[in-house]
């Protein structure tokens, strides 16, 4: 469904210095699969999603979605792909126009892509579709008439998800969708994403720095460092038997919510003794 082949992206700074943000990445994502891209800041994970979404042009290499090469696709193909592929960002507030009501935020992609959703004539259809979407993400229909600032972070993220689903996409790219949320809210949003995936047969490309979150939702995990994928594999295998040194370092650094398994605590009591 998604094929990335030998993808490279260089950024050139005004001073002439270049940064290789994505370094020779090849990756495929199957239909209805959740591939999680993990990495620390500066690893290139967000740049990779931007290349995949066609928001950035690669320096070299190809991105193919459903067999269509983004670089050589026609305008019509590209428009179709943009319906197929939606995105949810980390900060739901900065990705919404604060002056619009929720109904108009969620309806934006509909108005862009569906003639029948436009104008006064399309209003009834548009609002019915928005109600349907809001209920799918667990919000009350009354939410449609309100503004983004009236909602909590978790609810706003549900609105972002509703908007992403408006056009029945097959692929949803999620860039740190729960990183700004409290843990209890994060758990609810992750549950929602899992339920939506089951119901709608979605394919997820999920970017996160949180390995615990990755381990819970991934079918496969790609570990990125300095622009390159250093290891990729099924979630179970990768977390149980990490092959790459860097994956092990990352896994070891994740604090475990259990004092009896804390390495730092163990090391400290050894010193104290």
């Amino acid at each position: 469904m998604i094929e990335l082949e030998r993808l490279r992206k260089e950024f050139r700074a005004p001073g002439g210095r270049t940064t290789l943000a994505v370094d020779d990445v090849s990756l495929t994502v199957q239909r209805s699969e959740t591939v999680v891209i993990v990495g620390e800041s500066g690893s290139g994970k967000t740049t990779l999603t931007r290349l995949l979404l066609g928001l950035l042009r690669p320096t070299s290499g190809t991105v193919r979605i459903n067999g269509v090469d983004l670089a050589t696709s026609s305008g019509a193909d590209m428009k179709r792909l943009r319906r197929e592929m939606q995105v949810v960002f980390q900060d739901p507030y900065s990705s919404m126009n604060p002056k619009l009501r929720v109904v108009d935020i969620v309806a934006e992609p509909l108005v862009t892509h569906e003639p029948k959703a436009r104008g006064r004539a399309g209003r009834a259809w548009r609002e019915a579709r928005v109600d349907e979407l809001l209920s799918a993400v667990g919000l009350e229909p009354g939410a449609a008439r309100r503004y983004p600032h009236e909602f909590s972070g978790g609810q706003r993220q549900r609105i972002s998800i509703a908007r992403a689903l408006a056009l029945n996409p097959s692929i949803v790219v999620l860039d740190e969708p729960t990183s700004a949320l409290d843990v209890s809210v994060q758990a609810q949003v992750l549950d929602l994403l899992a339920a939506l995936k089951r119901e709608l047969g979605l394919t997820y490309v999920f970017v996160t720095h949180n390995l615990a979150v990755a381990s819970q939702i991934a079918d496969r995990v790609a570990v990125m460092k300095d622009g390159a994928v250093v290891e990729i594999g099924p979630a179970g295998t990768l977390f149980e038997q990490p092959q790459h040194e860097y994956t092990r370092t990352l896994l070891d650094a994740v604090p475990v919510p259990d004092p009896s398994r804390s390495r730092l605590r163990a090391a400290r009591s050894r010193v104290a003794r």
């Binding site: 994740v254 604090p255 919510p257 259990d258 004092p259 605590r265």
Partner: protein
């Protein structure tokens, strides 16, 4: 164990126009010498408002200190005039934050600002200040501390800035360090290093730490005792091991249940 800091029946309100938010409600907490007390909670739980009250750093207005006492040595910090408080801030009780740029001045070289903290509270010569600064940076694990002292904050990476802030907080050898989400903005590998550094420095200098965090994984690594806050109240307070092994309050259990864990990761090591 001697108690260094004792918060008793603290209540703090935020008066926001027509609405009053009871940010901290009747909170009592004791901090023993050399221990790490973690205050855990989600956003809006009052954990930061509680910690900022210790040095009266909540912005007034909207904050109003309704009632309570905060005993530190012979003083009630809440009743202390600003001038006396200033002699304690950064000296006996120091603070570090999530974002090091809230403590570091972008216009001053790192070494100079660390030195200012020391000169403000101690009668030290320029040369002694200089060597104390380099020593503090070295103890905070900053490589080539004499060169780093001559750099501006923007020239340092996130992890190094955090270390510089820790050096600044600890240069006066405070008895109490208040750390408000000190590793939240950091990558996990850097977080692990900073936590290790904090416990090392604590073991060396014997300071007590009040750690504010939402991350139960971090708490499991460093806390001796934990207070769980929700809606301005402490719902549960326990030593670390029993809190994780047998949480008493429903909310603590739900927090633990919601904390994502590495599925299938190898046990121990």
């Amino acid at each position: 164990m001697t108690t260094v800091l004792s918060i008793e029946k603290l209540s703090v309100d935020f008066e926001l126009g027509t609405e009053t938010v009871h940010a901290v409600r009747d909170v009592s907490l004791d901090l023993a010498e050399g221990e790490t007390l973690a205050i855990v909670g989600e956003s809006g739980s009052g954990k930061t408002a509680t910690a900022l009250s210790i040095l009266q750093l909540n912005p007034v207005p909207p904050a109003v200190y309704r009632s309570g006492t905060i005993r530190f040595g012979a003083h009630d910090l809440l009743a202390l005039p600003e001038a006396r408080l200033r002699a304690i801030r950064g000296n006996d009780i120091a603070m570090i934050f999530q974002d090091p740029m809230t403590s570091l001045n972008p216009l001053k070289k790192v070494g100079r600002q660390i030195g200012e903290t020391l000169q403000l509270h101690r009668d030290v010569s320029r040369r002694d200040t200089r060597s104390a600064v380099v020593e503090a940076l070295a103890q905070a694990g900053v490589p080539r501390p004499d060169e780093r002292a001559e750099q501006y904050p923007h020239e340092l990476s996130g992890g190094l800035r955090q270390r510089a802030m820790i050096a600044m907080a600890l240069v006066t050898r405070p008895k109490v360090l208040i750390a408000d989400e000190p590793t939240t903005a950091l990558d996990v590998t850097v977080q692990a290093q900073i936590l290790e550094l904090l416990v090392q420095l604590q073991d060396r200098h014997g300071m007590a730490i009040v750690l504010i965090t939402h991350d139960l994984g971090v708490v499991a690594d460093v806390a001796d005792r934990i207070a769980v806050m929700r809606s301005g109240e402490i719902v549960e307070e326990q030593p670390c091991e029993p809190l994780f092994a047998a949480p008493q309050h429903e909310y603590t259990r739900s927090l633990l249940a919601a904390t994502p864990r590495l599925a299938g990761a190898s046990e121990g090591a």
